[in-house]
Amino acid sequence: MDSILNVTRRHFLEKASLGLGALAMSSFDMSSGPNGSSGIIPHFAPKAKRIIYMFQAGGPSQLEMFDYKPELERLHKQELPESVSMGKRVTDFTAAEPKPMVKSFTGFNQYGKNGTWISDLLPYTSGIADDICVVKSMHTDAINHDPALSFFQTGSQQSGRPSIGSWLSYGLGSINENLPTFSVLLSKGSGRTDGAQPLQSRLWGSGFLQSLHQGVQFRSGKDPVLFLNNPSGISQMNRRGVLDHLKLLNQKYLEKEGNPEVFSRIAQYEMAYRMQSSVPETMDISQEPDSIFEMYGPESRIPGSYAANCLLARRLAERDVRFIQLYHQGWDQHDHLPDHLTKQSRDIDQPSAALVKDLKQRGLLDDTLVIWGGEFGRTNYCQGKLTDDNYGRDHHPYCFTMWMAGGGIKPGISYGETDELGYNIIKDPVHVHDFQATLLHLMGLDHEKFTFKHQGRRFRLTDVHGHVVKDILV
């Protein structure tokens, strides 16, 4: 009942004219508990209107990509000193194994006005050094993929909490008319393929928030949103005819039974009909100029690739989709790191950089927060056999790197430092909850006030932790 009482005219019109989630708010289904959007007006002026989060699932190695550690070259193959590991927990893969430290197989250089260190694996990313903020001092609580992914996306290692996109859909509603508030795009990496770690659809689930806030997966191929296409043989004209007749019957039913749910159902059928044209229109990249494909790289013409998804992310951002989540798999380099990481980096380097540049040239970067990063980092010691041209790295939650750009983030800086062996953070640690608090802050939400009451408890994305990292804000 709260939400109904809170609905002011302006607020409701705002919501009702908006997208998927918001429309469904009119379902009036109050028997199902807290309804639709929160009705929270941003706590303060937002810096970002929308987010593109390019999640690198599996745990990319910071030591070969961003966190340059020349000291490891000197200590290559030497056992990790206990004074550094300090008895911190490691995975059962390597708990009882020797831990020879291993240098990066790639070279590093400094780029941009502030000399941001970026590895040779990322020639395109180095070209946007002045646009991004590289955070080298990320740390997390979880050491295995499944809980670590959940922790990043939902603030809890256990399943059942809403994901970031769902929180934002709930808190801020939609800002577009024809597309879902929270869209998800998946791609497979070309690095580790055999035994690569999986994803879970609950990572874009809405947990205890209403399911209308869940992420809608956009797929390559002929059904970009599940069940979007009419059955073969049924034209849009047929469909229009069916909907018009249905509407007459439903209105009659409404008059007879007085069930307000029917109002909403009629509206949802119309919304579905509109999505049948708005989604394919968004997904159709055939009209993009060659220059754009060149910018995102040759893979951007291959549907379902990371590059194509980056291009689609821009198109979704242009259409004001609130939260656009990409997942790129294959970053779990326990072994064959040099080979697999080279391939993975090639997957993401050019398209990620192109996305930032493309948003910038369209004036969208200012109010779009772009995020790149995985669920944890990788150890400074080798897992498995260490040879001259081959090694692997285990999961490492105590330090790893992410980068962010646009939407209120200070461009061209590096933030946080790790020790000279790249094992522990020595300056400005950023915990996952800090990252989440900062993300909400940029969207105009105070992470301590942004709550949802479920089973008698006020839940937050940041649980009872988190600080906004003010130093990286404009």
């Binding site: 499944d146 998946l186 399911s211 069940f227 007749h245 039913y253 307000p260 119309e270």
Partner: protein
């Protein structure tokens, strides 16, 4: 044009809401003496009448709990200023001897520090403090004031007091009640000066009853027979028939597997297969045999602990092995093993005690008298399983199956027959020219997935030696605190010294008549199933932060009656559906909606969208496609391609969804294969539970994606074709009769002239279209496997298919009214 249409629609919706907002305010004013303010709005300062007598449980406790207990409640570590407001012994304490100031002094606001603090303007003094982001509305302050003025009477928490059966109240309208339920409901309605609704039409009642008790729509013969039966007990006979049908067990099991978090895969990381369907079949059977609820639950909690347990008693305990498990290499065994114990403890709390015990995992419960020690004492019962955290397969002929000990072998004859079926399917898939996938890795992996279905079932057992249980500091698996022994929260009822110190003892504690929660919780859940909304609207929280019962005396009457009946589930449901309350028409108008939008006071029948399972099963039943086989391994009906491959691991863990062949596509939705990392999308879109953890209440949303499923999902399109065909073969000779045939399947009633004309005009439009483009008709009719299309006019058949789909999509078809 669409924009215009949308706009007018939105305006309509807006007007609706604003009316309801206004009226909702009125409603609260009127109902103030009764309304429960536990979901009260913190920002809300509108004036409303105070109740004549302020009741602690109904008015005061919800405020104290929600705004004060976080710092002044049961959690000893979070408690500030040594002050607690959750305990009668402390809430009236003397604070200042000189000034004669108390926390609360009955009848004396001046001497009550609590009141002084909540009205203070001084930020240092004010409670709740501003930094807590909590506040009290003027109304809530007024309530507290009046309560203190009236003597500040304390009462124990309602759900922790043993329920008693009070005689049904006296009512004025003595000819309305059919059974005891109605006296309690009518008493409230008369108090509120609200009229009950007329009895629902026979058609509506029949459809409602059929879905409630079997999860299926009534067939046309049943409709005809019921309409023709004028006897006074016609409805009762029908209810008995449904309760005795095998579909009843399937309906009940569908509810139960949400609660039991049943699925076919382990749910974490690679999400490989397990084999739990024999347990699911046992559940169906138990419901059909009307096993008493206490026995039903006792077997599931502790069947293995009976002397010489039978096969079935052991099988029942698979309930507590349904939790998610991992096989991720590198994961810590103990960390995950502990997480399974935690899951079972939380499930026990939610499903059987109706409490959020999981809140006490890291610290004392903030709102309810459940200490962290209580939590781990409870967990000790589930901590004695000789199991691994990172599971190791015991399976034969199979490399990556994720079952782990302890387990139960299936009876040989059962395995043999299923293995035959599987072998045939595998052989067909390998040799079939039209094999769904040529990639042999997928095929080999799929073979393993199939093989899982004859593997032993994971069950519960006790370790030979006792595993010590500790309080886990901050809930961390390796932070051992105090050593604890078996126990239950003493605030609910003592764990008697004579009870065995194991799960069997726990079950006995649960079903001891002294336990104030067990019967209330289950009776409430079944009330929710039948009426759409629990008497307690938070079926998972009967604690301080949960909602209060709308009809406390009725809840208690039902709970005690249920126990007295010997925990007879069928009798309980029969009592509910036989009531006049249940049989009311569901029709509403703006005034009724404004007064009671959620139908808390039960002045009308329930309007509810059908569940995911019911919607699909209805389409299968109407179309005649349904395969009614009961039980057996789960099956894979249509699902869009690529969902599993896109999300699953690589290599030997790759999984591809292979759509079942033949009639396995048309089993009831209860049997649909549930892969946890990618559940069947059409089910999730209609709010099916995730099956990752115990769920006792589903959401009910209304979204555009739902429209897309019903209009375009091949499952529903094929059912529409089949129904179109059936209309032509069984529906009569002309389009009107045929439309009426399908319409009756969908709604149980005949369409009126106007409805018939609208659908006929749709039929004619479609027929014209398909005559013009016969190739489209052909295309449309080639969706799915259905082929009955001999000797029929193809454009006509397709036109009926489209009309059938429209009928499936009617708002009325999607509802239970």
């Amino acid at each position: 044009m669409f924009v215009k249409r949308m706009l007018s629609l939105i305006t309509n919706i807006y007007q609706m809401v604003s009316d309801r907002t206004r009226c909702a305010l009125t409603f609260i004013c009127l109902a103030a003496p009764l309304i429960i303010s536990c979901d009260s709005n913190e920002q809300n300062n509108f004036s409303q009448a105070l109740p004549e007598v302020v009741d602690f449980n109904f008015h005061i406790k919800p405020i104290l709990s929600d705004r004060c207990y976080a710092c002044h409640g049961p959690d000893v570590n979070a408690r500030k200023a040594d002050l607690r407001l959750d305990d009668e012994d402390f809430a009236y304490n003397l604070l200042d001897t000189l000034e004669d100031i108390f926390v609360i002094k009955p009848g004396d606001l001046e001497k009550s520090e609590l009141f002084k603090r909540i009205i203070s303007e001084d930020a240092e003094q004010k409670m709740p403090p501003p930094e807590s982001n909590l506040s009290l509305s003027n109304y809530e302050i007024a309530l507290l004031k009046k309560w203190i003025e009236q003597g500040a009477e304390w009462k124990p928490h309602w759900s922790f007091i043993r329920p008693e059966k009070s005689p049904p109240p006296k009512v004025k309208l003595t000819d309305w009640p059919k059974n005891s339920i109605d006296y309690f409901v009518l008493d409230r309605l008369e108090e509120l000066k609200v009229k009950s609704s007329v009895k629902a039409t026979k058609e509506k009642l029949l459809r409602r009853l059929s879905f409630d008790l079997t999860g299926l729509p009534p067939d046309l013969e049943t409709i005809d027979a019921f309409l023709a039966d004028d006897s006074s007990d016609a409805f009762e006979k029908l209810a008995d028939k449904y309760l005795a049908s095998e579909a009843f067990g399937e309906r009940m099991a569908t509810e139960w597997i949400d609660l039991a978090r049943y699925a076919e895969t382990n749910g974490i990381h690679h999400d490989l297969e397990r084999n739990m369907w024999p347990w699911r079949d046992w559940v169906i059977k138990a419901f059909n045999e009307n096993m008493s609820y206490d026995q039903f639950v006792t077997w599931q909690l502790a069947g293995d602990l009976f002397p010489d347990p039978t096969y079935k008693q052991q099988l029942a305990t698979a309930f507590n092995r349904n939790n998610r498990t991992t096989q991720e290499c590198g994961a810590h065994d103990e960390e995950f093993r502990v997480s399974y114990v935690i899951d079972r403890t939380n499930t026990f709390g939610k499903a059987f005690m109706g409490l959020t015990v999981e809140c006490a995992q890291c610290h004392d419960h903030k709102y309810d008298p459940i200490s962290q020690k209580n939590y781990y004492q409870l967990s000790a019962f589930f901590n004695q399983v000789p199991e691994k955290g990172v599971t190791e397969s015991f399976a034969k002929n199979i490399h990556h199956n994720q079952q782990s000990a302890p387990y139960l072998e299936l009876p040989e004859e059962e395995v043999a027959s299923i293995r035959n079926i599987i072998n045939e399917q595998v052989k067909a898939e390998y040799s079939n020219g039209s094999t769904q996938d040529k990639d042999s890795l997928y095929l080999d992996n799929w073979k393993e997935e199939m093989e899982a279905m004859v593997q032993p079932v994971m069950i519960m057992k006790e370790k030979d030696t006792l595993r010590p249980t500790y309080i886990l500091e901050r809930g961390l698996y390796d932070s051992h605190g105090e050593l604890v022994s078996f126990g239950t929260p003493e605030s609910i009822s003592d764990f008697g010294p004579d009870l065995p110190r194991n799960r069997l003892g726990l079950a006995q504690w649960l079903f001891n008549p002294e336990n104030p929660l067990t019967a209330r919780v289950v009776v409430n859940r079944y009330w929710q199933m039948i009426f759409g909304r629990g008497l307690v609207n938070t079926p998972d929280d009967f604690g301080s932060q949960g909602e209060l019962p709308t009809h406390p005396a009725l809840l208690d009457w039902l709970a005690v009656d249920f126990m007295e009946s010997g925990w007879d589930v069928k009798k309980l449901l029969k009592t509910m559906v036989a009531s006049a309350t249940y049989q009311q028409a569901s029709k509403t108008d703006n005034a009724a909606l404004a007064f009671d939008p959620e139908n808390r006071w039960l002045s009308r029948g329930t309007q509810q969208r059908l569940t995911a399972e019911m919607l699909r099963d209805q389409a299968l039943a109407m179309s005649g496609l349904m395969n009614k086989q009961i039980g057996g391994p789960s099956v894979k009906p249509y699902q869009p391609e690529g969902l599993w491959t896109q999300i699953s691991s690589g290599g030997r863990y790759k999984r591809k969804y292979m759509v079942a062949q033949g009639k396995d596509r048309y089993r009831r939705s209860l049997y649909t294969y549930w892969k946890r990392i990618q559940p069947p999308p059409a089910m999730s879109i209609f709010d099916a539970a995730s099956r990752n953890q115990c769920t006792v209440k589903r959401q009910s949303t209304n979204t555009p994606l739902q429209a897309l499923v019903l209009l375009n999902d091949p499952q529903f399109v094929e059912a529409s074709e089949a129904l179109g065909y059936r209309m032509m073969k069984e529906g009569g000779n002309n389009s009107k009769q045929r439309i009426e045939y399908a319409f009756r399947w969908a709604t149980s009633r005949k369409p009126d002239m106007e409805e018939l004309n609208i659908l006929e005009s749709l039929f004619n439009d479609e027929l014209d279209e398909f005559r013009k483009y016969p190739e489209r008709a052909e295309e449309f009719l080639h969706i799915g496997e259905f082929n009955g299309q001999e000797n029929v006019d193809i454009p006509e058949f397709a036109a009926y298919g489209v009309v059938a789909n429209a009928i499936i999509n009617l708002s009325e078809s999607l509802q239970k009214n």
